[in-house]
Structure formats: structure tokens, C-alpha cells
């Protein structure tokens, strides 16, 4: 019995391998066709651009009268300028990393929390979801840019001693972006009575301060979590309920481990997003350098340093979180 089975098996595999190979080969060929737009783009445009950008960072650029340009090699000068001569660069870099360390946990925890809330069955869920998703669609720079202009105009007004700025503040001001929604004193009082360290108090106060930014930045993360929550089988929850687990236990023993790959994805995404978003202070700093005298190459050198830091942070985040991720074994 077993022998015949073995024989048929081997015949089967032989057939499959001989036929499967050619099919696999044609499929592989069409795979190349499918990804060809990216291939063309990457090797014809992106890779030369990256290489050029590296080159530029070691050169000085001189625009010629006839429309061409000339490169003068200067070695590490641009990098030396960024690291040792520019007074702001290192400070801004450290600041933006500090901001990141502050933002990532806040955004990930907040978006997980809201995703769990929005995943429950209730009335008006569709409306809430639509509202929470608005920032992803709407606030991509323009609003922040206008706010920035307002702030600059206001600063100018204050410098001139104009009455306008004072009045705008007294009427609430048009540029109120939600920062004034919650009184800081309340939070301080609350935590002052509980005997916790001042660092924690400061962190919480900062989070409350930043609540508008955090809510606005966690749209995509929320949706990634939502899609993850939807993919957890309801049967697991049902069996938990049968065994008498409370909602709290179910969350920590089922939802959290099942969603942990998404936490890693979201942490990585948040790092990328906040590093490359337009309102990042480092990005705007590089932008101002770019527009300055001799700035294009210097800005490129700075951006390269910045990029290396981004990679480093990503590796650290992935290494720290990778150990805790639980992967569900899929049926194959």
C-alpha cells in the first residue's frame, strides 16, 4: 500500500516538476514585466539621482552662463561645514530625534487605542471613522504652511508694536490650532497631587499640549491597526468569552499579541513619516539652508547625514521591537 502510494507520489512530483518548471519560468518572466515600471524608474532615474546627490555633496556647484553647470570638487568640506561650522545643524538634528523619541510611542499607543475603540460595534461608527481619517486627506502641509505664515506675520506685528497682534490674541486669534483646548494647570494639579516624578508629569503635559498634532499624525497608523484588528478571527474572541475571560484579559492575551506585527509596522512607519514630513524641523532647516548662499550642496550634505541617522534610528527601532513581535503561524 505504502509502496504504491510512494510510486504515485514520485510520479506526481516528477510530472509537476517538469511541467511546473516551465510554468514557473513563464510566470517569472511576466513578474519582471509587471514590476518593470519600478525597475526602469529605479535604475534609470532614481539610482543615478542618488549617486549624483552623493557626488554633489562632495562638490561645489557653479551655474554656467550658457545653461550648463560645473562641479568643483571640495572633498569633505560640506560635511565639515554641517557638523562643525554650522551652529544650528547638530542642535536641530538632536532636537528632531528627541521629538521623534517623544512622538513615536505617543502616536502608536494613541492610534492603537482609537483603533480598538472604533473597531467596536456602536452607533455612528462610520461617521467617527470618516472624521478620524480627515487629517490624512486634508492636512498635508498647506494648513501648517499657512499657520507658519500667520506666526511670521504676527511676529512682525509684535516687532512693530502694532495693536493688531494684541487684539488678535484677545479675541482668540484665527490661528488657534487646538493647543489652547486644555488648560495645562489642570494636568499639573492632577499629577502634582499624585507623587510621581516630574519627568512623567512633563511627558504627559507635553502629550496634552501636542494632542492636536498627535491626532493629526496618527491617521494612517489608525487604519493599519484597524485593518489588523479586522483580520483577527472572531472565533478566537468567542472561545475566550466561553472560557470566561474579561475584556481586559482578552485585550492583553489575544488582541495585543495578534496585533504586535502591526505595532512594529506602525512604529517604523511613524519614524519614516515624521522624519520625512514637511513640518519636521530638520526638513525645514535644510530647506532654509538650501535657499541660502552656496546652500544647495551644503543642504545635500546635511540631508545625507540626516538620512544616515534615519537609517540608524530605524534599525534601532526594528531591533528593539522585533524581539517582542508575535507572528501567528499560518496554515500552509
Amino acid at each position: 500500500m505504502t509502496k504504491t502510494k510512494n510510486i504515485t507520489n514520485s510520479v506526481d512530483t516528477a510530472k509537476r516538476s517538469s511541467k511546473g518548471k516551465s510554468l514557473a519560468r513563464t510566470k517569472a518572466r511576466s513578474g519582471w514585466v509587471f514590476i518593470s515600471p519600478f525597475l526602469i524608474g529605479f535604475f534609470l532615474i532614481y539610482l543615478p539621482m542618488i549617486v549624483e546627490s552623493l557626488q554633489f555633496s562632495f562638490h561645489k556647484i557653479k551655474i554656467m552662463g550658457g545653461g550648463g553647470y560645473q562641479l568643483i570638487p571640495v572633498g569633505w568640506e560640506n560635511y565639515e561645514y554641517a557638523l562643525f561650522k554650522d551652529t544650528q545643524f547638530v542642535k536641530t538634528l538632536a532636537g528632531s530625534i528627541g521629538q521623534l523619541i517623544f512622538n513615536v510611542p505617543a502616536i502608536v499607543v494613541f492610534s492603537l487605542f482609537v483603533a480598538v475603540l472604533l473597531n467596536q460595534k456602536m452607533r455612528g461608527r462610520a461617521i467617527f471613522r470618516a472624521v478620524f481619517f480627515i487629517p490624512v486627506i486634508v492636512s498635508t502641509g498647506i494648513i501648517e504652511w499657512i499657520d507658519l505664515q500667520d506666526k511670521m506675520a504676527e511676529n512682525a506685528g509684535e516687532m512693530n508694536g502694532g495693536a493688531g497682534a494684541g487684539i488678535s490674541a484677545s479675541t482668540g486669534g484665527a490661528e488657534e490650532t487646538g493647543n489652547g483646548l486644555i488648560s495645562m494647570m489642570d494636568v499639573r494639579n492632577l499629577f502634582g497631587n499624585m507623587a510621581v516624578g516630574t519627568e512623567l508629569v512633563d511627558y504627559v503635559v507635553d502629550i496634552v499640549n501636542e494632542v492636536y498634532n498627535i491626532v493629526n499624525k496618527s491617521g494612517v497608523q489608525m487604519l493599519i491597526f484597524l485593518s489588523g484588528l479586522q483580520s483577527i478571527s472572531p472565533a478566537i474572541y468567542e472561545s475566550c468569552q466561553m472560557d470566561g475571560a474579561t475584556g481586559w484579559e482578552t485585550f492583553w492575551k489575544i488582541t495585543f499579541p495578534m496585533i504586535s506585527p502591526m505595532i512594529l509596522v506602525n512604529a517604523v512607519y511613524t519614524v519614516i513619516d515624521s522624519f520625512t514630513s514637511q513640518d519636521n524641523q530638520m526638513m525645514s532647516f535644510i530647506k532654509t539652508i538650501y535657499e541660502g548662499p552656496d546652500g544647495t550642496v551644503r543642504a545635500t550634505a546635511m540631508a545625507w547625514i540626516y538620512f544616515l541617522v534615519v537609517i540608524l534610528v530605524l534599525l534601532v527601532v526594528a531591533a528593539i521591537m522585533g524581539g517582542y513581535v508575535f507572528y501567528q503561524r499560518r496554515d500552509t
Binding site: 513563464t26 517569472a28 511576466s30 513578474g31 509587471f34 515600471p37 519600478f38 524608474g41 529605479f42 532615474i45 532614481y46 539621482m49 542618488i50 554633489f56 550658457g66 545653461g67 550648463g68 553647470y69 472604533l118 455612528g124 467617527f128 471613522r129 470618516a130 478620524f132 481619517f133 480627515i134 490624512v136 486627506i137 486634508v138 502641509g141 498647506i142 499657512i146 500667520d150 506675520a153 506685528g157 493688531g164 479675541t171 486669534g173 484665527a174 488657534e176 487646538g178 483646548l181 492636536y212 491626532v215 493629526n216 487604519l223 493599519i224 489588523g228 479586522q230 483580520s231 506585527p261 502591526m262 520625512t276 514637511q278 538650501y290 550642496v297 545635500t300 540626516y306 538620512f307 534615519v310
Partner: protein, 353 residues
């Protein structure tokens, strides 16, 4: 039943029982329960009270957060209808005392809004269509086919996502100011003894069209990633069935895969459209001239608006914000129509680690 053998007490108990049963039967026979009975047994229980408490807590929390999200827009909408006297009046918080449409009129007249709207619509639509098509193709290729270097190539996709714009800003500009692939054009020109420094593609839609077509535009790495995750979740049996029926790989893709992934494609379309719509990095970089006016360019205080009044800063800021509202309005309208598909699409993508 033998009544005589029972004591009086037992008879009374039996009667009571019968009455109870009759009452239950009566209640059950009615298809709608009397309100108070229902109320008492269903809602006045500790279980329900707990549930209600949680629901209220949840609602308040979500409502508050929605308010935080919407408040800036709400306040901007209210400010946009204010006359200049309102900014001085301390009693005016949101609702104007002297409502006026002057701000809107001035912006529509002075800031070339409709021309910018037209240009931006063409640009965003083009980018969104091309990006949706190419990212779907590439995502499908990465999800469903096995070929050599697949993993390395996918790492390259992620790589394009990680590199900050600023790193390649200068090279992007140079690339499209002196457009030339691998220096081929220059070499050919040199062969014929000519001088050629490349095509100047700035101030046209070409740079963004090329970037979109090659999946290098804004966040296209993310789109490819989303599409790949989605196609990973599509069972292989579907395609196998199509192959058995005699369809080739491309026919299967066109006839089976595209129709079933319309939701995801709408999602990608909406993302790329919205992000291109209010993008400032690429438009600043590629549109250096004054001739092509795009939506971000119209944010300024309109010249015919007389802002020289006591609260000038506040008024001018309101005018700028009204420009912002006018920019975002078409986007919001589009979002209202597509939000259901959009959210469904993202939820269904089943993005996993």
C-alpha cells in the same frame, strides 16, 4: 390530578403556579411586550448599566477627539465669513456679527483661483491615474510572481520610501533641468560633434508624469507596499482557475484581478490625488516660473481686500486661511463621496508585518 388527596396549602400553591404560568403565557402570546416589563428586565440590570457606562464614555471620548480634529476647520470656516469689524469686537468668538462674503469674493477675483484649480486638477488627476495604474502593476508583480532578486528589489522599494526628499532635492532639480538618461543624449550629440546639455523639463507636467510612471513620486513606495499586501491576501486559486480556463497571465490580470481590486485602487487613487493636490515640495521644485499657477500659490492676502483696520494681523490671517479652505474644499467634497470605499479599502488590505 387528584385534588382530594391534597392539603389546602398544596392546592393554593398549585393555583399560584397555574396563575403564574397563565401570566407568562399571556405575556408570551403578545408579540410586543408591555414597555415597563421590557424595560425592567432588559435595561435595569447591572450588566446593562455597565455597558451603558462604557458606551457613554466611548462616545464622549470619540466625540471630543473628533472635535479636536475638526475644530481648526470649523473655526476657520467661521472666521472666513467675518467682516473686519468682527475681529475687533471682543464679544465675537465664532459667529460673526457683521457676516460678509467679501473675503471669498476678493480671493476669487484677485488670486486666480479658478486657473489654479484647473491646473492643479489636471496635474493631480494625471498623477493619480498613472500612479494607481503603475503601483497596482508593481504590487501585483511583487505579490504573485517568483523571480530572482525579488527580495532585494522589494528592499529597494522600501528604500525609496525611507530616503528623505531633501537628500535628492538638488539631484531632482538637476535631473529635470538637464534631463538626460545615463548621459546618452549627450554622448550621441558628442558623436555628431554637437553640444547638448539635456532637455529642460521644468515648468511642465513632464517631471511629475515621469516620476509617477516610474513609481518614484510622493509615497509611491507605500502604495506599492499596500497593493502587495492586498494581493498577498488574494487566494491563488482564483488565478489558477483562470489559467485552467485558458487565460494568460495578462488576460487574468485584466479580467479577473483588476475588477475585484477596484476598492483598493480607489484607495490608492484617493491617496495620491489628495497628496498631490496639496503637495508643495514638488510644485516648488518643478514650477519655478510665474506662468503655471497652482493651488498652493494662491495663498496670499488678496490685494482688493482692505485689511488696514485695527485687527489687521487677525484679519489677514483669516484671509489666508480662507484661501486654504478654498484649496481644500474640492478635496473634502471628493472625500465625502469616496470615504466609504476608501476606508473599506484600507481595512480590507489586511496589512500585516
Amino acid at each position: 390530578m387528584d385534588l382530594s388527596s391534597m392539603t389546602k396549602k398544596e392546592i393554593r400553591a398549585l393555583e399560584k403556579q397555574q396563575k403564574k404560568e397563565a401570566a407568562i403565557r399571556r405575556i408570551k402570546s403578545q408579540d410586543k411586550l408591555p414597555f415597563w416589563t421590557l424595560f425592567r428586565y432588559k435595561y435595569l440590570t447591572p450588566y446593562y448599566a455597565g455597558k451603558l457606562g462604557i458606551a457613554i464614555f466611548r462616545f464622549v471620548l470619540l466625540f471630543g477627539l473628533s472635535f479636536v480634529i475638526l475644530y481648526p476647520y470649523i473655526s476657520k470656516i467661521f472666521f472666513s465669513f467675518m467682516g473686519r469689524e468682527d475681529f475687533v469686537d471682543v464679544r465675537v468668538l465664532l459667529i460673526a456679527k457683521y457676516p460678509t462674503l467679501d473675503t471669498y469674493k476678493a480671493i476669487l477675483n484677485d488670486n486666480q483661483y479658478f486657473q489654479a484649480l484647473m491646473n492643479s486638477s489636471v496635474l493631480s488627476l494625471m498623477c493619480a491615474v498613472i500612479q494607481t495604474a503603475t503601483c497596482t502593476l508593481v504590487g501585483y508583480g511583487f505579490a504573485k510572481f517568483n523571480f530572482r532578486f525579488k527580495k532585494i528589489l522589494f528592499v529597494l522599494v522600501i528604500f525609496t520610501m525611507i530616503v528623505p526628499h531633501d537628500t535628492i532635492q538638488l539631484s531632482l532639480f538637476m535631473k529635470f533641468r538637464y534631463f538626460d538618461i545615463w548621459g546618452l543624449g549627450g554622448t550621441i550629440a558628442n558623436l555628431f560633434g554637437g553640444e547638448w546639455t539635456g532637455l529642460n523639463l521644468l515648468n511642465s507636467n513632464w517631471p511629475l508624469a515621469i516620476l509617477s510612471f516610474t513609481c518614484l513620486a510622493f509615497k509611491n513606495g507605500l502604495f506599492i507596499y499596500i497593493m502587495r499586501q492586498y494581493f498577498n491576501g488574494v487566494p491563488d486559486e482564483l488565478e489558477e482557475a483562470a489559467y485552467v480556463d485558458g487565460a494568460g497571465v495578462y488576460k487574468t490580470f485584466m479580467k479577473v484581478i483588476i475588477p475585484m481590486s477596484a476598492t483598493m485602487m480607489v484607495t490608492i487613487f484617493m491617496f495620491s490625488f489628495a497628496w498631490q493636490w496639496s503637495d508643495m515640495f514638488y510644485t516648488d521644485l518643478f514650477y519655478t516660473g510665474q506662468s503655471d499657477i497652482l493651488l498652493p500659490d494662491i495663498v496670499k492676502v488678496p490685494s482688493s481686500l482692505d485689511t488696514d483696520y485695527a485687527a489687521q494681523t487677525a484679519y489677514e490671517s483669516a484671509a489666508r486661511n480662507t484661501c486654504g479652505l478654498l484649496i481644500l474644499a474640492p478635496l473634502v467634497i471628493l472625500y465625502l463621496f469616496t470615504q466609504r470605499t476608501l476606508i473599506e479599502g484600507v481595512e480590507r488590505s489586511g496589512i500585516t508585518g
